[in-house]
Subunit: 353 residues, 2 copies
């Protein structure tokens, strides 16, 4: 049996099973850099380092030692199934009969980087920007599809000294499809330590990105708070409906609301002219999601919509009005139907932001 072990991004992220499997190994085969990372675990073992580009040779060598009866471990950084040795070994395995392979999973760069950035993931697409084995048209197609559908994107192998074109192409597509304010997390890991930066798409510097970097691109809901990159999932936060909001929605549901700019209002424009006042009180309050500009007043734990102008855009109002009557039939629905209301908010943010 050949075991392929994912050693994770750093030593402390290695799993119990990975550590155990390495202990029991007689022959350990891997890329030199990864072997170095675990060398204290390899005393007394036959350790074989083979360089980048020698992946097929590593697989053949592992099979060779396995046939001779040794307990062989192939080492991959991160998880062996994410651009690691699992695919190569399984492909080469086809040449032989009677091989048994076990993959020991590990923490991959996407979740490791996400953990350092805060909580940036929701539905996400992992794409390797290496065009050594993959045509650039395929890489571009995948980036465009994922960016347009508003996935979180995670780029592996984004850029090396000689391979700079795919990252340029990736940025070009992102600039076309996504807003320049889109948040991008840049995590560089080397020798068991990482540096973390969170920037806007428009301020990425290509030279900041190298082959030890993982890039995580946020979606339309990703925001920055206290240095963390956060993509909210849309949980309902506990709240009570303010009496003025109840009053407002009584009128709204009776068809007595004001549509468009309410220039007669003494507070107009409470945000900026021209603003659509149809939802003077927000049906999603408190969304607790800073991606549209709101924020917590921390001293009071009160959600402030002062910075949110999204609810006052004409296209936002139109999007909400198309479905609100189905969800809001009485004032109590502001609370009782909050999950569905927040889902309507998600739909409209995607369409209008």
């Amino acid at each position: 049996m050949i075991k392929i072990v994912g050693i994770g991004p750093r030593r402390e992220d290695m799993t119990i099973m990975a550590s155990q499997t390495l202990k029991e190994a007689e022959v350990v085969i891997g890329y030199g850099g990864y072997i170095k990372q675990i060398k204290d675990l390899l005393e007394g073992k036959n350790v074989i380092s083979l360089g980048m580009g020698q992946e097929v040779n590593r697989a053949e060598l592992a099979i060779d030692y396995d046939k001779k009866g040794y307990k062989v471990v192939l080492v991959s950084s991160g998880d062996p199934g994410v651009y690691g040795m699992a695919n190569v070994l399984h492909q080469v395995m086809g040449k032989y009969s009677g091989l048994e392979i076990e993959v020991i999973p590990g923490v991959s760069a996407v979740t490791y980087s996400a953990a350092l950035l805060g909580a940036p993931l929701h539905d996400f697409a992992v794409i390797s920007l290496s065009d050594i084995l993959t045509p650039i048209v395929e890489i571009k197609r995948k980036i465009r599809a994922a960016a347009e559908a508003d996935f979180i994107l995670a780029f592996y192998n984004p850029r090396s000294k000689r391979r700079t074109q795919p990252f340029k192409e990736a940025l070009k597509i992102l600039f076309e499809v996504r807003s320049p304010e889109t948040l991008v997390g840049i995590v560089k890991t080397r020798d068991d330590s990482s540096s973390v930066r969170i920037v806007s798409l428009s301020s990425i510097e290509e030279n900041d990105v190298d082959m030890n970097t993982t890039i995580i691109v946020g979606n339309k809901f990703t925001y920055l708070d206290d240095g963390k990159m956060i993509t909210p999932r849309g949980y309902v936060l506990p709240h009570s409906t303010h009496p003025l909001a109840s009053e407002f929605y009584e009128s709204y549901m009776a068809g007595e609301g004001v549509e468009g700019s309410n220039t007669a209002c003494e507070y107009y424009p409470c945000h900026n002219h021209p603003q659509n006042c149809t939802f003077c009180f927000c049906p999603f309050y408190p969304c607790g999601d800073s991606s549209t500009g709101g924020r917590w007043i921390k001293e009071k734990q009160v959600w402030s919509c002062e910075g949110c102008t999204w609810i006052h855009q004409d296209d936002t109002v139109e999007c909400i009005q198309a479905k609100l009557p189905q969800l809001l039939k009485k004032v109590a629905d502001l609370q009782d139907n909050k999950k569905e209301l927040l889902k309507l908010r998600r739909e409209c943010v995607f369409l209008t932001k």
Copy 2:
């Protein structure tokens, strides 16, 4: 400091750091099922189980204990940043000042399931099919985009007793976009053990899928070998060019090849009539990729193209001919330029298969 710990899918997949962090915790908060999984690690600690749907309460409780000075750990299964507690806690954190949060990553269901299936991953998209917080239109949009771009798809939370519609919708989209032969891996995990099945898209039974299941949908290159689901990455396998192939490509490059069906050939049809014989010898030999029908003759370690009719399709030939002249200028390029040739193969498989 509040720590959010990913305990992985099974006990042995927990990381060293997760285990260490739990040991040092004073208060441990989590969903009952996850707490049960690690209860031997929790002796003497204040352990608080809260049910499904209580995510915001768990986060508030963690903050509460943290403010009181306790070492608090929030527990998530798999990785806390993949539909886990990291996003909730970071969102709720916004209400308060001076909180510190650390996320301890774990092995997530996608890489765990991939390891059990073999090596199915390449570029992949992770999508939760739960429509509790996400509009079904958003879920459908993402599935369609990822399926059309030929990502590997991983579905989390695919189906529960009451929530059956999103999985139906997912299958409907996959049937529209992907071939019925597309391989699908179904991994069910419960109480630290997993069952694994690999089926074709057309033979999925909805009732086989529940909330403890992770689904991995292959791409156009994913094939089955010896019970394993394998997506090759396109490595060049060692080979020498057969003298007959050299002879063939000398003629081909001199413009003396036969285009279309070579009915005059004594072996015609070596596959099936009508077949396009333009590439009587395959320029990608040996691709080592069973997704187009080839396979290893294991006794001899020889790659057999007997089962591959893809190279003899008219659209395949057209796709290859559009770019082959740039890549193949002399017979030696069959070897020297093999990486680029295999990338051309990838492009054409995507367009024609």
